[in-house]
């Protein structure tokens, strides 16, 4: 459970580091204050009593000292033997990665023999821990306060409880306040007063906390001797009822999580399928090389990261337009070079584009090697958003969902509002009539194919963030994306969106009891049967155009 908390608060920790490095960098005047400097000097070379005073003085300085104090507690605070500089060193197995404790300036790796550790007595360590807790409770950021409350709640320490009690009245943030209340209610559960226990259970059953679930589970269990750990039957029943109450919510949250996973899988499917839907819907052309165009997009991300190794986030963002242009160019080349000779022969187009897909695959294999390439994920996309103990959403999935919706809306606007979109729709409805009205259909075809292919490239950028980038990337998605297009109904972007999300969610709901592979098979069989019932998909095209 502690591990769970630590995992969840990774982002918090990262944030914390950032915050304090900023505080130290920005607040240069802190280090020039004479009191602060005396405290630092005392910390470095004073006696244990002076050290304790120094700690208290630093504590009065507020958040800016927190990094130094925390390092002191973790045994990471050192002085350099050469010039007595105060530094923080993180063990890297061979020595220490050292940075200046006051300025945060990195001093590189150092040998163990070049630094002196600042030692603490056990008594000092206890008081330091309390001081740090106290400091953390007063920090601006509620996320840090919340983490501090949870950490202190897990310690069975009277002084920590006193700190929390003092904080309870001052606390403004409802989440932090609630967390403090939970800590005290959990303590009440151990009380010998039955009424107090009952009251605590009653109050706790509304909480979404794993601590509460664990505590309640202990109450209804028997110990090794076969006696209930909670002797009173009333309290036990109340605990059972509370557990049922919480479990119902737990299931609700887990369904919410499944829906989120389903939506994010659906988003991937929609991204993969939407370019296909355009070319298929407008031109009646099955582009089997669509998956490989996505692969090109993913490799573009890889190359961009190689070119800009120090700017992960920017390189990913830059990859989006670059991948669009590259894939669109390849797509237009395919259209002009091959497909244009095969109009009216959809089955032949399918075969020819499949040939292209083999060639693209092998080219990538020859250029980049058949092995998977690793594409790094920028920091703002890793980790997860912890909503409560029961529900956390991973950022990369979340961003892909958002990205998918942006791409979808953008495409919808292009088709709805631009001249190209108008022409594309006209050609899709009735090619001959459009031609008679003076629309250059062959130019529109090329542009449509370019647009569809470009979106495949953009989808590839998104895929590079959640899956392995290798020559087989496209093949893995091609059958799925065809399913989405066919299920949704050809020539209908909304159909593709709805179909993608339905298939994604269905897949994720089937997975827990059918297993990932069987779930996929079931979905495939469902689509095969669905096509029998509605051969033209969920949202079929209406009117005479549909028959041609």
């Amino acid at each position: 459970m502690k591990a769970n908390f630590i995992k969840g608060s990774c982002r918090v920790t990262a944030l914390l580091m950032l915050l304090f490095s900023l505080a130290i960098h920005g607040d240069q005047d802190v280090s020039t204050q004479p009191l602060f400097m005396t405290a630092i000097t005392n910390l470095k070379q004073g006696s244990m009593t002076e050290r304790e005073q120094a700690i208290n003085q630093l504590a009065e300085n507020g958040g800016a000292s927190l990094v130094i104090l925390q390092a002191l507690l973790d045994g990471q605070l050192f002085t350099l033997k050469t010039d007595m500089r105060l530094v923080i060193g993180v063990d890297n197995n061979q020595g220490y990665d050292v940075r200046d404790a006051l300025t945060g300036e990195s001093l590189g790796a150092m040998d163990r023999s070049t630094v002196n550790k600042i030692n603490l007595t056990n008594k000092l360590r206890v008081s330091l821990r309390r001081t740090i807790g106290q400091l953390q409770l007063t920090v601006e950021d509620p996320a840090i306060r919340l983490a501090a409350v949870k950490a202190m709640g897990n310690e069975d320490d009277e002084s920590a409880l006193n700190l929390l009690k003092a904080r309870l009245d001052l606390e403004k943030d409802p989440k932090v306040k609630q967390a403090i209340e939970v800590v005290f209610l959990l303590k009440d559960m151990n009380s010998s007063d039955k009424a107090l226990r009952m009251k605590a259970i009653d109050a706790l059953k509304a909480q979404n906390s794993l601590d509460v679930v664990n505590r309640l589970n202990v109450m209804v269990e028997k110990d090794e001797a076969g006696n209930f750990t909670e002797a009173d039957a009333d309290v036990r029943n109340a605990a059972k009822a509370a557990l049922i109450n919480i479990n119902t919510r737990l299931q609700l949250y887990s369904s919410a999580e499944t829906i989120f996973f389903g939506l994010s899988l659906g988003a991937v499917l929609v991204l993969a399928a939407i370019g296909l839907a355009i070319t298929f819907g407008v031109m009646g052309v099955i582009n089997m090389a669509h998956g490989e165009l996505m692969m090109l997009g993913a490799y573009t991300t890889y190359v961009m990261q190689q070119l800009l190794p120090n700017h992960l986030g920017i390189s990913v963002l830059l990859s989006i337009p670059v991948a669009f242009v590259i894939s669109a160019a390849v797509g237009i080349a395919i259209e002009r070079g091959i497909i244009r000779f095969l109009y009216g022969r959809p089955l032949e187009t399918l075969l020819a584009t499949f040939g292209v897909s083999l060639i693209l695959q092998q080219s990538v294999r020859s250029i980049f090697s058949p092995l998977n390439r690793s594409v790094a994920t920028p920091e703002w996309m890793s980790g997860s958003l912890q909503i409560n103990d029961f529900l956390s959403l991973t950022w990369n999935r979340f961003y892909i969902l958002v990205f998918c919706l942006i791409v979808f809306l953008l495409l919808l606007q292009i088709l709805k509002r631009t001249r190209l979109g108008l022409e594309v729709r006209a050609v899709a409805q009735n090619r001959n009539m459009a031609k008679a009205m003076g629309i250059p259909t062959s130019r529109v075809d090329a542009m449509t194919f370019g647009l569809g292919s470009g979106i495949a490239g953009v989808a590839g950028v998104a895929l590079s963030q959640i899956t392995n980038v290798g020559p087989n990337l496209g093949q893995a998605y091609i059958v799925d994306s065809f399913m989405v297009v066919v299920f949704g109904g050809v020539g209908n972007l909304w159909g593709t969106l709805v179909a993608g999300f339905i298939l994604g969610i269905a897949n994720k709901f089937l997975e827990p009891f059918a297993g990932a592979v069987l779930a996929k098979i079931l979905v495939l069989i469902f689509i095969i049967l669905f096509i029998q019932k509605r051969p033209r998909g969920l949202f079929p095209q209406k009117g005479r155009a549909a028959d041609s």
């Binding site: 298929f280 009646g284 099955i286 091959i338 000779f341 095969l342 959809p346 089955l347 032949e348 187009t349 399918l350 075969l351 020819a352 499949f354 040939g355 292209v356 897909s357 083999l358 060639i359 695959q361 092998q362 080219s363 294999r365 020859s366 093949q475 059958v479 065809f482 399913m483 066919v486 592979v517 069987l518 996929k520 098979i521 495939l524 069989i525 689509i527 095969i528 049967l529 096509i531 029998q532 019932k533 051969p535």
Partner: protein
Amino acid sequence: MKLITLGADKIATSVLLALGVVSFVIPFCNLVLPADSALHFSAYTVSLIGKYLTFALLGLSLDLVWGYCGILALGQGAFFALGGYAMGMYLMRQIGTRGVYGDPLLPDFMVFLNWKELPWYWLGFDQFWFALLMVVLVPGVLAFVFGWLAFRSRVTGVYLSIITQALTYALLLAFFRNEMGFGGNNGLTDFKELLGFNIQSEDLRAVLLGVTGITLMATFIVSRWVVNTKLGRVVTAIRDQESRVRFLGYRVEMYKLWIFVFAAMIAGVAGALYVPQVGIINPSEFSPLNSLEIVIWVAMGGRGTLYGAIIGAVLVNFSKTILTGLLPEIWLFSLGAIFVFVTVFLPDGIVGLMRRKLQERAA
């Protein structure tokens, strides 16, 4: 188009002749002549040619549905693999106690997975006649159910192509699962004997080649007869103008279903002949790429001719053997190039080219 009889078509005759030579002469040489004779073919060559002929049979089956009925089935490989698995199951049961674990009843992979008894669908496969029945019945029934659903609701064109691809993809995923009881990832292999003969022996290989060649010739002649009957004529008419045939009062879906099931059974037989000659069957045979490759054999040879499929299958696979041996990197490039080149420049395939040459000479 004028009704072409068997003898009148020069290419058909020469293909049949070549097949006759291969399927009688090679086994004869290997069985009768001593091993050091110049006309004695190596076991490798015999198996390789045998493999080509099973592919030719598979190509022929696809040509029936695609070339004659216009259904671009991207799942023909699934029927091939199912036939192969039926044969593989028989061969597994023949291993008996000679497996690594020496279990008299259970194949090795089941012992390995701690299975206690044989699943019901493995029962009967110790009988050769039962296995042969399943070789045609399993693909036939699957094709019947799938085709009945698809053709009745008038799923056509690319939609049909894509759901046939989904079918083989679903089977691929299913057969990869260990729980299915078909050996999962590794499939069925390590066969010992077929009808009491050592499966590794050169004599059996030669016989298998002969059997494959004769089956191919017989299927070719029967199919050629079928496409020239009234039934075959209706099927061809459906390819060219489906709605017109329907308006004339024919039940289009029944004709389609008939040809689809017939072709699936042929593909099953091809699979059954393939497995003993290569000694393994695994789920990769279900992969959509394999089924697409079949399409390119037929397209390359020339569809709607039957012998074109045979020529295409042998040619493409021969070049595959050569290229993957010499320059493995080049193979996918050339396969891709063949796809593009044939569809754009050679819509009638090699056979179309040959026919044109023959006509020019005659004129």
